[in-house]
Subunit: 350 residues, 4 copies
């Protein structure tokens, strides 16, 4: 519980601030013999890269990953894998406007309360920029899962209250906003433009679907697979709700509606989201994250400074309108890291 470490057997620790030298991490526990190179990680990083979508920031980061250790002749050696991503666009700015002011919806106030000191440049460690390390680590986890026939997909199912139809999730990564639905794009773009011109921001919902997980992963009673997935997704900044399978709506269903009946050919429905009693059932694992609107709005907001005095703030700068789509590869990475951890744990039980 020292904050910057995730996982138990497939463990990753990350470091880095928004406007520091760079960001990175160390993976401790990746098995030996897995094919790995920088290109494999880069592919996932490029999907998260700022400046690629209509809702995105103007910040341009190359986000080129460098593997520092743990790989020899193209394969993992079983030793710890260090990786680093340089910050190239941390342009020198004037922070005097925000360095002593608590931005609403941000962690400025709480970091000061906790640490008594805060790297105010672009939010420091509390910036969404830290997620670059999550995506890099997730890309390594993905290679491990691939060897077991497990695949993970993530896609946007709602933006600004407008639902997508989950018609074609398989190709979501090729589409704007990682949308599973070509037809919703126009509505989303229109809504985003409206909100942007108002100086406001939007939230949305992302679904993660993991296929090929064998029955038997998960550790009752506390370390249920769904409990760990909830933890993993909720640890991503801006996520305020997490649900598994039919999730929150199951609270309003009858038992006879919500139970998944079973035939000789398998389950007849998947309200459980692929997890029963905290253990995978062999069905697809389906989990959704509810993402709040980006707190950096250019409208005037009432707040206080670090002395507790009233003031107002308008936030300019290179900010996203919506955490989606950039949060999509991050949520996918967290799900993959979680499953990789259980996969290594389960192997030992056999």
């Amino acid at each position: 519980m020292s904050g910057n470490t995730f996982g138990n057997l497939f463990k990753v620790v990350t470091y880095g601030e928004s406007h520091g030298i760079g960001l990175g991490g160390v993976i401790d526990g990746c098995p030996a013999g897995i094919e790995l190179n920088e290109g494999i990680i880069q592919l996932e990083l490029d999907r998260r890269k700022p400046g690629s979508g209509i809702a995105g920031t103007a910040r341009k980061e190359a986000d080129k990953v460098k593997i520092l250790s743990g790989v020899f002749e193209g394969r993992t050696t079983g030793t710890s894998i260090g990786f680093h991503i340089e910050n190239t666009d941390q342009r020198s700015r004037d922070y005097s406007k925000i360095m002593n002011v608590y931005r609403p919806g941000h962690a400025d106030l709480t970091y000061d309360a906790k640490y008594g000191v805060r790297d105010y440049r672009g939010g420091g460690r509390s910036s969404g920029r830290e997620t670059v390390s999550r995506v890099a680590a997730g890309a390594v986890a993905q290679e491990l899962l691939r060897l077991e026939g497990i695949t993970c997909n993530a896609y946007t199912v709602r933006i600004g209250g407008i639902d997508a139809d989950i018609k074609d999730p398989e190709n979501a990564y090729e589409r704007l906003f990682f949308s599973p639905d070509e037809d919703v794009l126009e509505k989303w773009e229109k809504r985003i433009k409206e909100v942007r011109s108002d100086g406001d921001t939007l939230g949305g919902v992302v679904e993660v679907c993991i296929k090929g997980v064998p029955a038997g992963l998960g550790e009752p009673v506390f370390d249920k697979l769904d409990a760990r997935l909830a933890y993993a997704l909720m640890s991503v900044g801006a996520v305020k709700g997490v649900e598994i399978g039919s999730g929150c709506s199951s609270a309003d269903a009858l038992g006879s509606e919500n139970n998944d009946f079973i035939s000789e050919k398998g389950f007849l429905s998947n309200n459980a989201g692929g997890i029963l009693g905290g253990i995978s059932s062999g069905q697809d694992i389906v989990v959704r994250a509810y993402v709040k609107p980006i707190p950096s709005i250019s409208k005037e907001q009432q707040t206080v400074d670090s002395e507790g005095k009233s003031t107002e703030i308008k936030i300019g700068g290179r900010h996203d309108i919506c955490a989606i789509p950039r949060i999509v590869p991050v949520l996918k990475a967290m799900a993959m890291l979680t499953v990789a951890d259980y996969l290594l744990l389960q192997r030992r039980m056999k």
Copy 2:
């Protein structure tokens, strides 16, 4: 991640099956000098006790806790606290009907897949009965929190789609279903009776509110306080969704609506649920758990046996209609255990 252990500094490991000798646990990390006796724990256990409410099971358990260690002359000594609760009503039954059949919505299939062996008597370790140990441990955490002026409350905000009005949460523990609202009770009772007579079951929603948490608790970036609360609540069987503050609905709000503005007197709203950037802000921490309907219904259900052959099952026995209200003290316990862990962690930073 060995499943039966929760927490890092205020750590608890639990054991016990529904129809075994008994259940209990060991708390490793409770500070010395805290007043503790069996009566203090018993108070919380009695609130969770089966057979106390209209939606409850007919099983009668004394649920008397015995402290085995770690307390001397009425105070904790800083050493590990063992506790045990005997099973007194594990009446001998005929399990032949279910021992080879996978009950829909239960963990029978997944336990078999994971372990290759299963204690089929009343669900064994996968039974909700394991939560008795959570509540006992939570009662100890509560004493630690009390010394810091932190209080935790939990109450039912929805059953079967019918919302309570959160008028009087303070007295919820005195009311049927731990309801914050006297007026909703009649509607809930009526709905439960209907569903029971149909042989069906219901779900609901529980809110947990923690007051007095100082600003500064939580560990970015992975061990955010909200991430750990999501993990804690989702680890309770039947919980399928968790949200913080305005939660899932924040995904549909504008940034200007969702941000909590700040005046010299403090925050003007609490959409964040008391947590910013994963760290407590000093506001009330508000989190909700969405609870699925009890899977044990007396209607006929299609399923398979352990050989994979089709069969049908009707579940009789001493089962609840709704996990609420018995899950309410359990969710409260999990929230308290989580905060206790961070409280010990944070002290070290000062």
Copy 3:
């Protein structure tokens, strides 16, 4: 690091004080399907039982273990295994002489410094009596190791400066002092009688030998197998030194003497003690623990009371003259728990 928990995957937490209700523990992480019953654990407990040897205490404890969970129809279920051993001989005594006096060589002073409170009855948690839980847990680990063809043996190689000849370690458990040498017994008994009549106490050295560990167990760079064994053995009260293979004496050897050469038939010597670079080599793992004399002597000793005032103390009561032989099964248990942990960890790598 919460003190009462040992291991990561095969994890055990223990509880209990010398003069409390009882002692016990919970094993979290034992795989399913292992044959287990109380008789299997009892066998190891009986070897540690007080009152069995010439150097032993007069305290008579039945030390009957009760399994509380995790076993169904004679086999482990994969869920947590609770066990409890009642204290039956915690006779009511007058503690007024020691409750405010710090006994030299004991933990009285440090427990007071750490916790501000202390269970002074027989040393409370700091008493060697806590090791009964270690031995019970070790007996479960032994069953796991047995399935993999791993066996562990422990025997006394020195008492009071007199060395045994390690002629017949296999039958040490049948012999007084768990001696690998019938001939040394007379000398040891003579030495112990002398020292006892002087009101003094003795120390000694115990060797643990683990056979059948496959090459490849251990986790560089910090969690080397030898590092964890050192931790495990040093965690037993009274152990003041630990060495692997040729150990301390290797510091005085030449590289050409200390290196173990290898032929097609295997290693030609075992100075390394079966571990190279922190990983098992397939040879026997040999580790030794140096045990200080029991601090409870009946000679008069200079000390202070809890107010810091000078006083003198003579310790009577039911005390051992030498931690050996009772510490022997404890050290064996700790070695087995360590190897079991790595065994589960290594399985995941394949």
Copy 4:
């Protein structure tokens, strides 16, 4: 137990191979507000640097540390601290002679057994070069300890069987071999020259002394301070034995000789090495590590190749004759990391 991570609250994970791009680590859990810069870390690194002493290797590494995160305006921010040390002298060599041969006393055989793959360039991760990251992390721990008035010193007490007289440990860091004794130097140098000309190598003994540790640090029953120190020191390659206070020799003492009596002015001796019942007593903590001779000797040795076939090997290259003195700052670092971890843990108890 994922190998490359040390500590619980003051946690460090390290990465890097002997002949890779570089080495480094991430510290997760360092409190905010501590003065830190690269110069502070560099000071300790320079003490460990190759090529500085008579027994040293000819490899020339700048070993310049770069802090990547976690420090802002000269102070730690409480977030994770990344650091990196580039490899500058990993000269291209011909490894064909050793890539398929198991060097006696090295981890070649065991790495192959564990991972099925091995970075044979200079030993890869199993090389002593990994300790550069330990020293860097230890330098950060040292700053935390300094604020609490805790200082740590390490010095060589024996080389090749020749004891130093511990006359002046305070200035050992200024002396060749980190010797506490000017007069022994000539003998040590003479012995090393002899052995070098024979193509052989030597071992020795290092003592670590920690002053200013308050009474009350340590966690019974498993996480005793001495148990963790034993683990920490034994995790350093080449260490084969560890002892606390009078250590191994206490096994031959009488209780009346070994007990430390207490007067109103404090303890009258320190056989315990500053730890009683696993908890610090306020006295100096004294621990010794027994270091085996370097296994890389230039004499011919019998061994096998990775196919199991007999062969002979003579090891040339840039190797040390003795792990001392370079291991001295490493052992000091490990002791400091251990105490820092307990210091953070203990704060929470108050």
